[in-house]
Symmetry: C2
Subunit: 323 residues, 2 copies
């Protein structure tokens, strides 16, 4: 029996509790529709805009739930994570809401703008060598010294439950979806979304979408075991992470398929969302729409929810102006 079967499953109830907990502190993001994109696809598309979430990505949901779920004693000792991405800013913000310290370990080569974002939210930044070993060692040192609670960006049921609240809101507004499309990187968002969708609407299809250049979830799904991600330079920088045993266990059980998309399709999808939906989406956030680029009518006749996961991108380095 594989180790994944031993993981205690996330439940709809845990996601509902997360929602009640974080609701006052995160945005209820809008769902956008477009007659132009509906006509092109022959489907009804509902875009859940987590690019409008606090800190510009769904990560605010999971981090806020994790911090608010701590006991007062635990919280008083602070929280810690290592991340150069949206989770770092989200955790700093959540700790600020709770009034406790956030220790964020970041690689010394992280973009200055990301380091500043964490500091703006009140996070205490510890810079380290840009290796996973150095990051883990620095975080472990902070835990040993302060007793702070480590909050992983996705391998944590509180975080996964928080991310699932996006689907709770989406299905609350549009209950009769046939399909939900969701980007998959570490699998925290997809696990939470699939848990909610499967519980609320057993007939719904849940499909994870990931870059072909970072297809560990697709390969793991077919192999029936976690296959870690090798080196990748996919433009979808938020999806350059491997599944954990915990997220894989949920994905294997609850998700219908994982579909991969090429780099050109990701950039094209992103540009279409900017032009037609008038939203600023980052490459990772555009991945859920990317299958429509090469196969516009693949879900014709269906009602489709798409998770637009984030919108943090450097406006001076847009992929179409570089190319």
């Amino acid at each position: 029996m594989p180790v994944t079967d031993h993981v205690a499953p996330l439940t709809l109830e845990m996601v509902r509790e997360a929602h009640a907990r974080i609701r006052p502190y995160v945005n209820h993001t809008p769902v956008l529709t477009s007659e132009t994109l509906d006509a092109r696809s022959g489907a009804s598309l509902f875009f859940k805009c987590e690019n409008f979430q606090n800190v510009g990505a769904f990560k605010a949901r999971g981090a806020t739930n994790a911090v608010l779920a701590l006991s007062d004693d635990e919280a008083a000792r602070g929280v810690v994570t290592h991340s150069s991405g949206n989770h770092a800013a989200a955790l700093a913000r959540a700790a600020g809401i709770r009034g406790v310290p956030a220790h964020i370990v970041m690689p010394s080569n992280a973009p200055r703008v990301k380091i500043e974002a964490v500091r703006r939210y009140g996070g205490q930044v510890t810079l380290c060598e840009p290796t996973l070993e150095a990051r883990e060692a620095a975080a472990a040192g902070i835990v040993a010294e302060t007793g702070a609670a480590f909050v992983h960006p996705y391998d944590d049921p509180r975080v996964m439950a928080g991310q699932g609240t996006a689907a709770l809101e989406l299905l609350g507004e549009v209950p009769d979806l046939d399909v939900i499309l969701c980007p998959v990187g570490g699998g925290g968002l997809l696990s939470g979304v699939a848990t909610v969708a499967r519980a609320l609407s057993p007939a719904i299809r849940v499909v994870g979408i990931e870059p072909a250049e970072a297809d560990d979830a697709a390969r793991s799904f077919r192999a029936g075991r976690v296959i870690p991600l090798g080196p990748t330079t996919t433009i979808a920088d938020g999806l350059r992470t491997s599944l954990s045993e915990r997220t894989f266990a949920h994905i294997r059980r609850l998700v219908d398929d994982i579909r991969t998309v090429g780099e050109d399709a990701i950039v094209h999808a992103m540009r279409t969302q900017w032009e037609v939906l008038k939203i600023v989406v980052e490459p990772s956030g555009a991945v859920s729409y990317a299958p429509f680029v090469d196969d516009p009518r693949w879900l014709a006749g269906s009602r489709v929810g798409l998770i637009v996961s984030g919108g943090n991108i450097d406006l001076d380095a847009l992929p179409w102006s570089i190319a």
Copy 2:
């Protein structure tokens, strides 16, 4: 007694009727907030996102109301306008909804992408020399030949009433605003918004915002008579129009102030809205936020509604990549 006092005023009832009429055919656009921009301004900012409106701008509201308000006999003869902007696409789309012809006179040097947008919505494009005289003559010729109804982009009570529905939705969601900031070009949107705001919430301040490079509304407001706009190259291309006697009469009576903003502030405001709100806004749409660039706390302590009027912009020619 100036001619403006003879104009029959727009009423809240007319805007309500317009809303009932157009509701099934236009988007109820979301209102976005941002804790980052609230912290920067010391105010509570509510962005009414008409960039998410059909055809990418509030113009869909007025054009749809004008077309749907025609009698069956009038409608059967079609509609006509001359425009190279968002009103042209909006009128073509509205005529398509009614199933009647739309004749759109466009200057021969209009961007191909705009001509194609009108055609995609089913509009019949007549190209003419790029002068106002040629445009008016071509439109008059079509009216004489077909009996089509001319629908002006702003100097028309049905159009003004339609544009006012944006404020009806905004104040429906956020009733207790202290101030509404609204871009002003021809004055159709500002007239409609001010009519609604003044009727629903007598204490509210309504402030029109326009480019200093196209300050005919500010000068007209101070002079007490319409002063036409001279040549201008403001980046806010949607606001390169003069008030009409009709819109001026409403603005004079209902608006508290007209404030002007510089070109740099418009570009800066636009970029901030892209970066922080994650929305694609065109320069004309960013004008309502532009006063905050040089004077961040000018409305500190207030609850402020801002009309984000549109999002149609060429992603290959962004002002910050050109500069």
